[in-house]
Symmetry: C2
Subunit: 440 residues, 2 copies
């Protein structure tokens, strides 16, 4: 069964997909295509569901090394007493490489074929992405406090420039520009990062209105909401993808609509850190592009987009007090084609259509939890899970075959993570010198 | 690594569990136990997590046949125009058998070793449970409208009496008494069902305060909340497990505390049907026994208790606006020993301790999403999933080995479900004669 996620939501119950090199060249009925094409290799899709690879629109993949490092803590304690200190010490080029490797393995095995990421040491991340064959949009997170690889935003921005030059024309990697948040990056840094996006035709990433605290601080400091603050800086347009967007009022949503800003929705992280439920159904009703992201593993604690899609529906229904809100089809749309559109890649990925890049996944429908099914979008949104993914193809290359990774040497990655986690455990037991004054 | 869930929360990093016949006879360090015992069979637990089997305290397992049958609909439309009509037509002995079979397969594969179920044609369910070797508490749901297998509550109650006699002394099956809800069963039926529980030493199941509508109706009709209504009937005590309990006020919680009523918490169902978030942390703070249940698959859409544990934590944090609420350890407790205590089985299952029945599961820690880990309860609550379960032992018998079911012939079950789902699809397309008048 092929779920295309094309404009007409075509689902072909006995379908086939023809891939040549990196592209999808045809989609249609299985019997017609098998007589029309001479295939070098045939993947048997009997009893499988074929769909576009999932697009994780907001994550910090190197943070897999902090999985479960600090859970069940108040937000500021979590961030300032655990995450920032551990990152200050352990976000090294080598550890970023290791974390990214683990993340790519996890993403591929659970059906994610493209991710949009902001972190530090992005060159190392890009090398891992290149070696594993997954697709990614990567950016250096520009902040106004000393970051692991840049003492100030100037250095952060120059990293971005280097990355743009180095990875230009790579078939799988796009660089983007990124400012961390409106309260950790100065107005000047935000404007400059965004200008770099404009100059080089990149998307522009920023975390926005994730917590109520952030909104209150912005109003105290700038007299306006974080959204209005950014709009006043002139940095919001269709190249912007704003992550979280939990606390937007109607005026903020009007601005988003007028400027065609895309939203990166992180339902599980927003719940786990108790930040709230973003008004996703409202965003969709206004025609905004909304994609789904896992955020980093330190606040999730996994990169499973199926889990995230399901949670997005549950949280919206709960929040609206209406079970008919955010229907399964919208959820699947956000996880695929709308996510692709949110990161400026709707023209090349996100659906199974001739001319698009061949980012395709096959899921096993043979486990009890997948049986029976009456509506394919319900099946995907509510019943299937990352562990049902059997085959993953990115850019025409098979990266997961029968649940086995073909381009990642897991054992080597595990050994590195194991060594590192011993050091992290020791560090967790030490008194932190930075504490809450870290940002001040 | 053995996570015992005993009173001291002992975790043994290089542990072993000794099972003889249906019982756990010893738990301790691997090297000590391997020299103290001569084992006939050794299951290699290297790289695995060993924990008590999960206890699903509230489900309607035969409803797996309606998985995805009616999603994303307003509650009353869902119930009266889809679920009740389809049950009236399709809840036959044969279909109940098929649905239970599919459910048991799904539960075993995802680590559930005991479930508490209320439905119709319970004798057929018990036969399936017996043949598969899972542990269950089963009850006939007594209602005051014509149920699939009983025209009136008298017949429903007589079914319960038959079941008690037939399944007495079965090593895996306990019968319980059950009244459906305070608004679908009359006061008389509720009192009689509960009296049967008292007379025969059974637990007593009831759905309670699931929706705001139910509470409002109760106040209109009886002048008091559903909890107070039941308390006035004198049916609340420690043998009662009340499912959902979303809309309880402080007085209701006082009554629960005084009467030691147990709670069956169904977080995903409560979200998906937009009923709200039950005040679980409050219940726990008052010392109430709270277990986790999946509810039926028509409102979930799966029976994965790992998924349900994770959702319970996320929803509590969100609802409280505090990420430190409902910590991972409490979640795992609710999924195991506290769930067992909630259904009156805390003395024989729910933890890995000498003298308890051997209901034990082994999970693979070798997948990327399980690595690294710093806190074992975080690992279980936030990272592991049903698909990580490799081995399942119930009552000393191995039922799942290397992710394969040993006591369920899946192909035969699938063929039956497939035939049935064709009929269900045809029925879904037909105009319903019952509509909302079904209950009237």
């Amino acid at each position: 069964m092929v779920v295309t996620m094309d404009q007409d939501y075509n689902v072909i119950s006995d379908g086939a997909v023809v891939i040549r090199n990196d592209q999808i060249v045809d989609v249609g009925e299985s019997d017609q295509l098998s007589s029309a094409y001479q295939a070098k290799k045939v993947i048997d899709g009997n009893g499988k569901l074929v769909m576009p690879g999932l697009v994780n629109v907001h994550t910090h993949s190197p943070m897999t090394i902090y999985r479960g490092y600090a859970d069940d803590l108040p937000l500021l304690e979590w961030l300032y007493e655990h995450i920032f200190p551990v990152e200050a010490k352990f976000a090294t080029p080598d550890n970023v490489r290791t974390g990214t490797h683990l993340a790519v393995a996890e993403m591929l095995l659970s059906g994610t074929t493209c991710f949009n990421d902001t972190y530090y040491f992005v060159d190392q991340m890009a090398e891992v992405v290149d070696s594993c064959g997954i697709r990614a949009v990567l950016s250096e997170s520009v902040v106004d406090f000393p970051a692991p690889n840049s003492p100030n935003p100037d250095v952060g921005l120059s990293h971005t420039l280097d990355l743009i030059r180095k990875w230009k024309n790579h078939p799988l990697i796009r660089i983007s520009a990124s400012a961390h948040t409106p309260f950790t990056a100065s107005a000047d840094s935000i404007v400059r990062a965004r200008q770099m996006a404009v100059d080089h035709g990149l998307i522009f990433n920023i975390h926005l209105s994730e917590t109520r605290w952030e909104v209150e601080e912005s109003i105290k400091k700038h007299g306006v909401s974080p959204v209005k603050f950014l709009d006043n800086l002139g940095v919001l347009d269709s190249r912007t993808i704003a992550a979280h967007c939990v606390h937007l009022d109607d005026e903020d949503i009007d601005i988003f609509t007028k400027k065609d800003v895309a939203v990166g929705h992180n339902p599980q992280c927003n719940m786990k850190l108790a930040n709230g439920v973003a008004p996703i159904q409202k965003f969709l009703d206004r025609g905004l592009r909304v994609g789904i992201g896992t955020d980093g593993v330190a606040s999730n604690n996994d990169l499973d987009m199926f889990d995230e899609m399901r949670s997005s529906a549950l949280a919206q229904k709960l929040s609206a007090g209406d079970p008919s809100v955010l229907k399964a089809q919208s959820v699947v749309e956000m996880g695929t084609i709308m996510g692709a559109r949110a990161i400026g890649m709707g023209d090349i990925i996100g659906s199974i259509e001739p001319g698009k890049k061949a980012d395709v996944i096959l899921l096993d429908l043979g486990r009890p939890h997948a049986i029976p099914h009456f509506n394919v979008y319900s099946l995907i949104a509510y019943s299937l899970r990352g562990s049902d993914v059997e085959t993953v193809i990115v850019n025409g290359q098979m990266l997961v075959d029968q649940r086995k990774l073909l381009t990642v040497d897991l054992e080597t990655v595990y050994q590195k993570v194991k060594r590192l986690s011993k050091k992290l455990k020791a560090f967790a037991g030490m008194p932190k010198v930075m504490g809450r004054s870290f940002l001040a």
